[in-house]
Each structure stands twice: as structure tokens, then as C-alpha cells.
Amino acid sequence: MKKISLFFIVFFLALPLGYYSFLYFLPYYIMSEVARRKQLTYNQVYHQSLPTDASRAIVLPNPDFMYSIVLYDLSQKESLLIQSNLPDSSYWSVGFYDGNTSNYWVKNDQQLKSKKVKILLLLKGKHPPKDIDAANTEVVYAPTPKGIILTRLLVLDKKNLSYFDAIQKSFVIVP
């Protein structure tokens, strides 16, 4: 009788453990799956053309957007400085996601100060270098060392792809 009770006690204790562990670890697993499927290397920019039915790395792609993605690791680098030109009037945004896929920072073209944006990414608790061009650089603090930066560039005028392509390619990591 005692053994049967032990069986059910262990089972019912393991149930919520399995439930909440799954919920906790799933986003981290999915983040690593995205990196694996897209063959991403840390701290490099990857540009993606407009999604089609052949785009199967990330669910629910928006076919009107050119995406660029950076898988970052701040344990390998003290900081990450990125820069990009912004389009004249089309929507553009940059979103920062931590290791569990939460979006902790986002700004779009209308919220940024100039048409050439610089963003310095630092781990929370670190301080930006004193020689930073503060007037023209946004500083973002990452809650976890690993995460993803994702830019979205809206392309409504598909006949003008070369223009949007140039804007997209201007998004780089400054060495």
C-alpha cells in the first residue's frame, strides 16, 4: 500500500514539474532551433529577401518585410555596435529579443533621431565607453548575454526592390 502511495505521490509531484519545465525551456529551445535551421553564427548579420512559401525557418513570416537577423552573444564580445540607414518613408524597425524570445527593446524609423542609426548593445550592468557618440547612438541593455536582433523593412513597392535591398544591406555590425 505504501509503495502504491509513493507511486502516486511521485507522479503527481512530477506532473507540474514537467508542465512548468516545458513552458520554461521551450522558448530557449525554439531560439536554438532558429539558429540551427538558419545556420546562424553568433555576432554576424544575415539578410533575408522577401519571404515566400519556401521560407520555413520562422513561423508566420510577413511577406511584405525584408528581415535581417543577428544572433548575438555578449559573453564573446564586450559590446555590439550596429548601424543602418533608414528608408525615406517606409516602415523600418529593430527589435531586440532575449534568450527566451521576449522582446525587451524596439524602435521604429519614426522614433529614431536620424536616417542613419547607430545602436550600442551592452549587457545589463555594463557601462558604455566614454568616447561614445552619445548624441547619435542609442544604447540598449540586454538582460541576458544571448539573444536575437531582428530588423523589419516594409516593402510595399515591389518594383523598387534595389532601393530596399540597399537599405537592408546597410544594416551592419561595426567592427
Binding site: 506532473l15 512548468y20 508566420l60
Partner: protein, 197 residues
């Protein structure tokens, strides 16, 4: 002794972990089908938790699996629909018309069609969505009708996949004004009507 440990500790432990994980996965896969913690507006539903750091453990896992890299409500509102205005599942074998009017209180809107795997579906004209720039409005109005069908239509054709499956529609509203995200359950959204079985 070892047999007892296996039978009365490791086995129920493993079983509990598997059943618990399975239950979590099942609940997450109900995304878009459950009315819990969702804001409803006709056929459409949304959640303000998408893309937010305030997400619960469950909300974050759900978004990671079903709507990875979503943004917060100030940036984008995501309305999803898997059912027509009568509450029936949207299926690729049927034909639908989406009736609506231009959504001017957002910087950009689009309605995108996804298959049951949440990816874009192949079609002969490589069209996967309609937006304010591509939709043809009725003459002298801001009203539109989008035809969702596997059969070609003269205008505003959003192609269904040939393969029979359930369909997932996603209405995105970028940079919505407060008048939108403060009235998500009552703003006027397009109506999805079945016109042919």
C-alpha cells in the same frame, strides 16, 4: 531494491514529467482556438501579451511556438482568425469573402493567409497577403472585398492552398493609434463570410 526504485520512483517521475510536458504542449497548440485570455472581435482574436516582457510563462511559450518574435501592442496588433463570422473553421476547400474598409488608424495593415503549419502556402501567383497598397477598393469608397479561394478571381484574389487543410488568417496593424489598441474588442474589423462550400 533497484527494481523498487525503478518501479515506484523513476517510473512515476518519468511518467509525470512526460504527461505534464504533453499537457503543456497540447495547451500551447490550442493557440488561436481557445477563448481564454484572448480579446475577441467577431472572428478575430488577439492578446496584448504578445511581444511583451510582461508575458506569463505560458504566454511566452505560446508566442515562441506560434508567433515567434512578435512585437508589443504599441508597435503591432496581431489579430488572428481561424473561423468565419458564423463560427465555422476556415478551410481551404471552401470559398470566403473578407469584407471590410481601409484601416486608417494604423500606419500599415495586411491580411496574410497561412496554412495549418503557420507557414505561407504555395500558389500560382505567389500572393500571400493583401494590404492597403495592393487591395482594390470599391469605386469612390474605402471599402473592399477580398476573395479567399483556390479558384482564380478577377480582383482581390487571395489564393487558398490546393491541399485540404485548416486556414489561419493574420491581420497585422502596424503602429496603431490609441483609438485602436484601447478598443480592440469594438473597433470595426473585416468580416469573414463563407460564400461557397
Amino acid at each position: 531494491m533497484i527494481k523498487n526504485i525503478l518501479l515506484f520512483f523513476l517510473f512515476p517521475l518519468s511518467l509525470g514529467l512526460v504527461v505534464g510536458s504533453g499537457w503543456a504542449y497540447y495547451q500551447i497548440k490550442q493557440f488561436g482556438k481557445s477563448k481564454d485570455q484572448q480579446i475577441l472581435n467577431g472572428s478575430w482574436q488577439t492578446s496584448l501579451e504578445i511581444g511583451s516582457e510582461r508575458e506569463t510563462l505560458f504566454g511566452r511559450a505560446t508566442v515562441a511556438l506560434n508567433a515567434l518574435f512578435g512585437l508589443s501592442k504599441e508597435e503591432v496588433i496581431y489579430f488572428t482568425a481561424t473561423r468565419d463570422h458564423e463560427g465555422n473553421l476556415i478551410e481551404s476547400q471552401s470559398e470566403y469573402v473578407i469584407e471590410g474598409q481601409n484601416i486608417e488608424n494604423a500606419r500599415y495593415w495586411s491580411i496574410t493567409l497561412y496554412g495549418e503549419d503557420l507557414f505561407l502556402v504555395p500558389n500560382s501567383i505567389q500572393r500571400f497577403n493583401m494590404n492597403a497598397a495592393t487591395v482594390v477598393f470599391e469605386k469612390d469608397t474605402q471599402k473592399f472585398q477580398i476573395y479567399v479561394s483556390a479558384q482564380k478571381k478577377e480582383k482581390n484574389w487571395l489564393p487558398m492552398p490546393q491541399k485540404p487543410q485548416s486556414i489561419y488568417l493574420l491581420l497585422r496593424l502596424y503602429n496603431p493609434q490609441k483609438s485602436i489598441y484601447e478598443h480592440l474588442d469594438s473597433i470595426r474589423l473585416p468580416i469573414i463570410k463563407k460564400i461557397k462550400n
